[in-house]
């Protein structure tokens, strides 16, 4: 127990403190305000997001927490190994991300309240460049580094109520908060003549939204879920000054889960997110577009190993990323597989997933650019 829980306990603390980790710009997926990890738990991610609206750990549908009969906490670690290939260069990055943590407690016999912190847009990145410049009548090599750290995070307080065995409903209040810290440096080989430039900019975000959702089970083998989030104002601030203002994107989604096969469930989801509501928050060069997302997956019981039931999951997801690259949309297709098991008299559950994603841009100038990434996802759910 100690061996498996302690590292995760540390990670859990980190999630509450930081809320997110990093991702690199200079890539297709981290344009604008960054990459959206998806707000999916490891389990939901493993099914292509199909279980996302039914999953109490994923902060997408407040109705999903209604059936949590015990207090529970969940935290997730999700490193990503990315490779960007262009016509004449390629680069590998490694990003450690803690994209989601959540907790819920039962309220009475039919309701639960939950608090979650998830990474909404992760902007962390770094680029370096070397160029020749003429400064003070002298040709000089200039080394430039731009590093961005931080994210916009979604803090959700939700209440779910199980009206009957066939209906769950819920509502949530969201605060979007976080920081982007931009570090820029220019250095020169001759430190006597030239003084390095170091600029640090911190951008803070504050936004609000409300969400509601429902899960309907018209039959024992079929479940339907719908969820919607209505975004309010989203502001960026530097110190005490408002730098820009836009809106939190709206999100509407629906999902279907079929459990007619013994020991298995097949699920699918579709979502629409109005990312264009964020236009105006950044500069004109940062253009967000409304995007569709769809995915499907399967979760099935596997063999028992050491008296523990192993669950297998597989899925696929297709989505358009929110921010354009070189004026064109960026699309992502991913395939994912995962396993899960329960421990300690089913009071702890551990999920793992491996996702392979390919991303491409519609812009003609980026026709040769390809981004491939492997995302590992580790989720630990504990019922104290």
């Amino acid at each position: 127990m100690r061996r498996s829980l302690l590292p995760m306990a540390g990670a859990f603390a980190l999630v509450f403190v930081a809320g997110s980790a990093a991702h690199a710009q200079g890539t297709l997926s981290t344009q604008g305000f960054g990459f959206p990890p998806g707000q999916l738990s490891t389990r939901a991610l493993s099914t292509g997001g199909g279980l996302g609206l039914f999953d109490a750990d994923s902060p997408l549908n407040p109705a999903a927490i209604a059936t949590s009969s015990d207090p529970r906490v969940f935290f997730q670690y999700e490193p990503e190994f990315r490779r960007l290939t262009t016509t004449d260069a390629k680069a590998n990055t490694t990003t450690a991300r803690f994209p989601l943590t959540s907790a819920s407690i039962p309220v009475g016999s039919k309701a639960s309240a939950g608090l979650s912190v998830s990474t909404y847009l992760d902007r962390s990145s770094a680029t370096t460049s070397t160029r020749e410049a003429r400064i003070s009548d002298q040709d000089v090599t200039v080394f430039e580094t731009v590093q961005m750290l931080g994210a916009i995070n979604d803090v959700r307080l939700a209440l779910g109520w199980g009206a009957s065995r066939k209906l769950q409903i819920g509502a949530g209040a969201h605060v979007f908060t976080g920081q982007n810290r931009v570090f820029f440096s220019q250095t020169f080989p001759d430190s006597l003549k030239f003084t390095p430039v170091v600029q640090t900019t911190t951008l803070g975000f504050t936004g609000f939204a409300a969400s509601a959702g429902a899960i309907v089970r018209p039959s024992p083998v079929l479940a339907l879920a719908v969820s919607g989030r209505k975004g309010g104002a989203l502001r960026s601030k530097s110190n005490d000054s408002t730098v820009s203002e836009a809106n939190v994107p709206d999100r509407y989604s629906a999902a279907l889960s079929y459990e007619g096969i013994t020991g298995a469930s097949i699920s699918a989801q579709v979502a629409r997110e109005t990312w264009s509501a964020m236009n105006g928050l950044g500069s004109d060069a940062s253009s967000a577009v409304d995007a569709w997302e769809g995915g499907l997956g399967i979760e099935t019981a596997g063999p028992r190993i050491a008296e523990r039931l192993i669950v297998f999951r597989a899925g696929s997801r297709y989505r358009t990323l929110p921010f354009q690259a070189a004026g064109g949309k960026v699309n992502e297709l991913s395939f994912v597989g995962g396993i899960g098991a329960q421990f300690f008299r089913n009071r702890a559950a551990f999920d793992m997933a491996l996702q392979y994603a390919t991303r491409s841009a519609e812009a003609a100038s980026l026709s040769a650019a390809r981004e491939r990434s492997f995302i590992l996802s580790f989720g630990l759910r504990v019922r104290p």
């Binding site: 990093a22 991702h23 690199a24 710009q25 200079g26 890539t27 344009q31 305000f33 670690y77 490193p79 190994f81 960007l84 290939t85 262009t86 260069a89 680069a91 990055t93 490694t94 990003t95 450690a96 902007r123 962390s124 770094a126 680029t127 370096t128 460049s129 160029r131 410049a133 400064i135 003070s136 009548d137 430039e144 982007n180 810290r181 820029f184 220019q186 020169f188 006597l192 003549k193 030239f194 003084t195 430039v197 170091v198 600029q199 900019t201 951008l203 960026s236 730098v243 928050l281 500069s283 060069a285 940062s286 690259a325 070189a326 491996l354 100038s365 980026l366 650019a369 590992l376 580790f378």
Partner: protein, 406 residues
């Protein structure tokens, strides 16, 4: 393997420059360079460093161009001594083996051949500030001793023998020596002063043939002026000029020479260049005018100091003394050179950012690293010259102003 990969991912590598510049637009920083005429006041002032504050004593006899002499004071010549085994003291009645030990520095010196060093008695009741009165004391009747050194002997530590009478006649009084050098042609070297090293000069002598009694050793010491102990300490040893180097043109900026001179430059720089931009380079552009005087081909090192004097100090000469070193750049030039010379002063401009310009004028002081110890003098055009020759400031700065938005 998955777990291992997950753990290794804790070490992030975020650098992804392969997609640049297409995928990372507007990330670089532009650089602008402007050359301005910000100097509103420039002038040559006396170094006013204070008599005796130099780190070495210049001894030079250069015909019509320079005559510098060293003064070393021993104002505590004892009248009695105490043997180490005796509690009583004994009057000094005999003195021999009197040696003046000095450390010489011949770098940048002129040692054409054998050099004769003359020691004069320059004790005078005249005020300490009256150096001309001391010059008048270098007369044959005051000559105490002379010694001729071969060039090979004039290095590191040298010993100068004095007659025992020089001590005996001044028991309980003071011995003030004036040193002058002469030789075949121009002569110049330096003696390390008490400001330049710990105990570089020592006067020692025997008061008895008994070798069990140690030699009496005296360090330079000045007992006057009695009411200014700090000044008295500086006057333990010092240089006086019988003839200084020729002064540069009145409308030029002259750095160095003897007596030493400095240049004071006051700036008025557009506020945004000091307060708002990220400075990359700041260069003071000076146009040198040739000085074909003493040692015109030798190298003089000029460093810029930042003036810390407030506006309450209205005397520019005094404001030029209240300075601090702010840059690591040193201008190396020969006095005979001409043309554009550049001094990097970015750190000074950075310092000005934290200064209240209303309280402390933004000013630089140019001085020689061997101020008061070398005759070398560099000369520059002032703001009175034509625009292309005036001192100017060239500033390069970053134009990047990011608010952090993508």
């Amino acid at each position: 393997m998955i777990v291992v990969a997950g753990v290794t991912a804790c070490t992030e590598n975020l650098d992804n420059s392969a997609g640049c510049p297409l995928l990372c637009p507007d990330q670089g920083g532009g650089i602008e360079t402007v050359t301005i005429d910000p100097i509103v006041l420039d002038t040559t002032v006396s170094a006013l460093a204070g008599l005796g504050t130099e780190r070495s004593l210049l001894v030079a006899t250069r015909g019509d161009t320079l005559d510098a002499r060293a003064i070393i004071r021993f104002d505590t010549i004892p009248a009695r001594y105490r043997a180490s085994t005796d509690t009583a003291t004994t009057a000094i009645t005999a003195v021999d083996s009197v040696l003046l030990q000095m450390r010489v520095d011949t770098s940048g010196g002129k040692i054409p051949g054998p050099i004769t060093l003359d020691a004069y008695d320059v004790d005078s009741p005249a005020a300490d500030s009256l150096t001309d009165a001391l010059i008048a004391l270098f007369t044959p009747d005051r000559l105490i001793a002379s010694r001729t050194y071969a060039p090979a002997e004039l290095k590191d530590t040298v010993f100068f023998a004095l007659p025992g009478s020089a001590i005996l006649q001044r028991r309980g009084s003071r011995l003030r020596l004036g040193l002058r050098a002469r030789g075949q042609g121009s002569v110049q070297f330096r003696i390390v002063s008490t400001e330049g090293a710990a105990a570089p000069t020592l006067l020692s002598f025997r008061v008895t043939p008994d070798t069990a009694v140690r030699r009496i050793s005296l360090l330079p010491f000045s007992s006057t002026p009695t009411d200014q102990p700090a000044l008295a300490a500086s006057l333990d040893d010092y240089t006086i000029l019988a003839r200084g180097t020729s002064r540069g043109p009145a409308n030029a900026l002259n750095v160095g020479g003897l007596p030493a001179r400095r240049v004071y430059l006051r700036f008025e720089i557009p506020r945004f260049l000091v307060d708002s931009v990220d400075l990359i380079r700041a260069s003071l552009l000076l146009t040198q005018r040739p000085n074909i005087g003493v040692d015109a081909a030798d190298t003089v090192l000029i460093i810029p100091h930042v003036s810390l004097a407030t506006r309450a100090v209205t005397d520019i000469a005094k404001a030029s003394q209240i300075t601090a070193i702010a840059v690591g750049d040193t201008l190396r030039i020969a006095p005979r050179d001409s043309g554009l010379k550049i001094v990097e002063v970015a750190s000074v401009v950075g310092l000005w950012r934290g200064q209240d310009e209303v309280e402390v004028p933004r000013a630089l002081v140019l001085l020689s690293t061997t101020e008061g110890q070398s005759p070398l003098e560099a000369r520059f055009f002032s703001v009175e010259a034509s625009p292309e020759l005036r001192p100017r400031l060239r500033i390069s700065y970053s134009t990047r102003k990011s608010r952090g938005l993508p």
